[in-house]
Subunit: 264 residues, 6 copies
């Protein structure tokens, strides 16, 4: 079975740079996959992406050596099973707030006897190889999101669930849950910053890799220095918007006679 | 009929900033349409876009006040008629090298008696209004691409074809045609630079707006200063690639322990 | 944030006319959006529509000033979160039969602290505006469906759940649940008619807007007179079928030599 | 090979009622196919439909006994060949103005020796049967559109081209070409009305079936009485718009308190 | 209402041959539907198929007399309701391990009073007929999958749930659950073989039809001899892979100079 | 630039096995790409495939080392340019009957100065590499189809056109053109067999690789022995149909009680 290269990076104590795919287009994802990310996550929760688009985006990632991940919209067996069969090498799942949630998630992601995943890796076997069934439980990553006050309270218990090998921090939801506004990435609000530190520390104790969603390279670098090992850089749609906006503003501020019509 | 706001900009002697849509996703296009462009061109030639995707991308543009344009893949009545009925306010057409090409293009784009466009503006009438049929020939723009040595030779004749109100320079093809390599935007090769200047000058003489495809804000600003009035900033996929690549490199150069696995 | 215009209509004590989109085509929805409806509901339950099509249909609605709503297939966080992030201004949810159901629905639809909606309004922020996060809980409508005998029994409790500002009656399911057959809209069966009256009366007591699905203009007008304030007129596929059938019959009955081949 | 039932209707001297599919949705087309049309034409010219959508729409028609036709966007071998291989039983082609155009069209539609159609009826053989290759040239209809002054002038010559067994009048384009405005169906402008009569008369002389696009049942009935044998009733999108608009207006005029917010 | 022909086959004590559709393409499904299967199951669990593709695949099946079934990804009302409204004549549901699961499944599939299915058979009424609502509960099949040790233990109870008229064995999952590896079809491992026999025997006792997924014709024939009455032959993607591989190997072994480049 | 591995095979005097993709599904194509073909051709002429589907199918092929080719529907710059920009490594073009046709085809496929291909390899540069523009004309293959009596007559002239490095025989069209019926692959009709031999001989003289479409492994092996070096094995849909049909018949003939309902 094709190895999960995130493990190689982590084994060296290094961090992986993760891209985030919210645009439901295999071409956009393939462009992303050529820019140097270690992994790309197809976002089926907040991205404008559902399963049928996701399956073509995973194929686009598979044209390169980038590791394919997906965030599912909920801790739900239907969505999780389908995207795993489509060939992801890790499942990021939102709103895992208790060890029971985490246990359920692991069971959805693992074959018997550890879990209850149903067998039928239609595209996964093409990507992973004929012996996929034998190694999938070992290679694929189950990645609960830690993004609420409740999850923080239960963090040790969640990290103790067998099969949880990484977690992923959603700073926007975490800030809302901790009463900090506005919800945003690259947090500076003290309660969120502290929580982020606490999470990575607990992860180290449990031998679990910590991941986090960042908006900028600067903050991502900081998070790597803090010990995070799966660090996301914004998303395709955010990168696109940022660059387009920057370029437009650069022209408009250059003193040329660029027209500015008011929007209606 | 909804007015073509590019004309308002040009009437003031100003330049329009044009976005370029190559990703076949209405969401990506809608993101683009919110960044401040005056117009967006759905690229059916080199973009990964055909008609069915283009129609949803035009709807995405129409959620804003941005002017919808399209580049067609060829001077071909089937493609041109279809995209016009889908509601574009201007057609950019590649490889118009002779006045005969230009005349044919104008005829494909105009209703009788000027042209031979067939009547049936299925989505265009939703976007443009019930009186679309009455004003379409006057509002919509026919925009030949000037991108070969042959077109340069025939430039005055092309600009003299009634109905040609703008042209669009494709610097990459133009450079290849002039024997300059590699083909690229933001040209500094003398023959191409001269041609670009000659084109805008000829356009001024004919009262025709000149457009050009640029890669960066700096060059776009320069082109506006040179008199170009429809200035494109790269494309959605180029902007996405550039920003993703920049962010990744910024992290990798920040001295953190970011892993770098070799691609295979 | 863009205001929810249904509230303006209701504030004046008037009723909104709602269109219903069952055909998975942005073009069909855009045609609907130009006919004069105040809102259009993308039906992800009984419509032939899932998320990826729905997202393009919402863009089509957003080319106009019509308010975008969606009916989700079930009281399920995955579906609800995804369609809200795609930019709907109200969620109609089937089979809300108890206050617990309603409470859960409200929680899925509201950010903390009121609910547990996860933050990531990818397209919603384009449609609603940059301050979407601040006002979404206040602008967006949570609309439980009242369509079973059990829901009638629990009506006061359901209407008392904070965040329930409107309800929607499904007369076909309601009739089945009350033992009246065949299931249909524009009810005349006494138990259903009485229930419909009871619902609107209870809604008035609670300051909640009442909505109902109708098949014809005549019945819709009657419902408005009865106090309903969100009144749906059939659906795109029903309107299409009705008109096509009427026109065909008109020709066939006109005495012309129109052929009638038996279907096989 | 499955017989072309339009021939049965015509053999009895009767007229076929044709539906028109402009919405790129197999579901919308399947709804249409159940309303009583004898044939349905997938409109690849002015409809918001290209090949990939058209192929699923043809499958939707094939769930019934309705005869599948298509209008192609242009007299172009690529488009014609592809849609024939997808299983249409007739090709309506716009802007056939000369016998040379007609001859070319026939050649694109017929296998050697009559024509140059390439062999590979991928879906057509499923729909038509294993002996498709043997009978296709005989069963399938080649239907030039007569819609310009030039075509009128060349009408006898066009009708004399072997393989032309029906023609189809596009009244909107015909009116523009004859200098009558606005372009529209259900013509009352004298030059167009005369041309329509002249066409059907010439068709009778040549043993060719005449078809025409109508907006309403009343006009369609009149056309049947005038001798037209393939009579189209508006289109799916027009029927939908008309019915939605009628229903909305009926409510708004009923004196109820329906809100009317101005569009923005 | 169109009758469910599986019942005719079973009434004669015969077995139905079932095709399995995993490729999200209406054309691939239509090809399958012409090969002689009695029914075809659109696999929304392990197939690369979600609802929007499934709906077009069901239309493709409906171009023939083959009975349309679907396997849903989970015992979930949202997925089940949607695919039933799209016109399936039977729902195969994975992981039904207890009578409570089975009861819930039946309720999702039946209208009141037996169940809680919501009324709105958008495409089902086109396929089934106008009286669909009256007969759907009687014609459509509810088919739990028996594929775990737990289900075996509860088999009698599951088969006793009113409305369960057939079951479907998933040999791969069953083998994993029984501790037999590798997971596969066409089982020879004793515990699985015994379970398969036990299931068909229990089904006979309860008057329930037994179905099973097979990989080859030989094993399928054996299963029919053992009493199974709904026998699946691999899947479209497995058949395609097998045939392509066989043909390639036949050429490579024929002694010709066919090149064999190593994959990279 | 990534090398075109077909050249490696041919340089050794060996033949490449080519798969044929007619099903518009990236998953079906990815399944094909894992079976051992050296190249796969996305068929945009007779396949149920247009550009938007083709682009995702090419990505599916690019997940492996299989060489991506496409057959375009016609010798038309719009179609050819688009599919080349999507990353094919060879263009098979139907109905090249004269050296003028061939010259035009080569010009559409090559950048200046040899041809007139427009520059913008959107996806091709991802697949081929950053130096694509420099080597594309040398690596990519231009492959005219020889499939008419006229082409046979002009064969030497066609093979002499600079840039024609391979040809492809379409035996079905060739047989129709030569007056042999029925049109089919794996020909035994003498005129076609002779023509096939003549073509491969002429190719050898000109140093051009000869390709041919076959239905079976046996005939493909024979063609390789005859000197053909690009040998296609049926198509995905034919392989699927053949295998499904074989398996069904094997069960039906096995003496089991498999039901056989007549189709209606």
């Amino acid at each position: 079975m094709r190895a999960n290269r995130l493990r190689e990076i982590w084994a060296k104590g290094e961090a992986a740079l993760n891209g985030w795919a919210s645009i439901p287009s295999a071409f956009a994802t393939e462009v992303m996959a050529h820019q140097g990310f270690d992994s790309i996550t197809v976002d089926m929760q907040h991205g404008i992406v559902d399963y049928q688009a996701a399956a073509t985006m995973l194929a686009a990632i598979s044209t390169t050596s980038v590791v394919p991940l997906s965030r599912v919209p909920w801790n739900d067996s239907a969505w999780i099973g389908k995207i795993m069969d489509a060939g992801v090498y890790g499942v990021i799942c939102p709103m895992i707030n208790t060890p029971e949630h985490a246990e359920q998630l692991v069971q959805y992601c693992k074959y018997p006897p550890r879990g209850i995943r149903s067998f039928g890796p239609a595209r996964a076997v093409l990507y992973g190889g004929a012996d996929y069934w034998q190694h999938a439980d070992r290679e694929l990553l189950v990645i609960p999101m830690i993004e609420t006050a409740e999850a923080l309270k239960n963090l040790d218990a969640i990290l103790s669930v067998p099969g949880v090998e990484a977690v992923y921090v959603g700073p926007a939801d975490l800030s809302l849950s901790l009463g900090c506004k506005p919800p945003r990435l690259d947090q500076t609000d003290a309660p969120v910053v502290e929580a982020q530190k606490m999470i990575v520390k607990a992860c180290k104790n449990h031998g679990v890799a910590a991941g986090i969603h960042c908006a900028t390279a600067a903050y991502a670098s900081k998070m790597i220095n803090d010990g995070y090992q799966l660090v996301t850089l914004a998303s395709d749609s955010r990168l696109l918007a940022a660059k387009a906006s920057d370029e437009i503003n650069a022209v408009r501020k250059s003193g040329t006679k660029a027209g500015v019509l008011p929007a209606y």
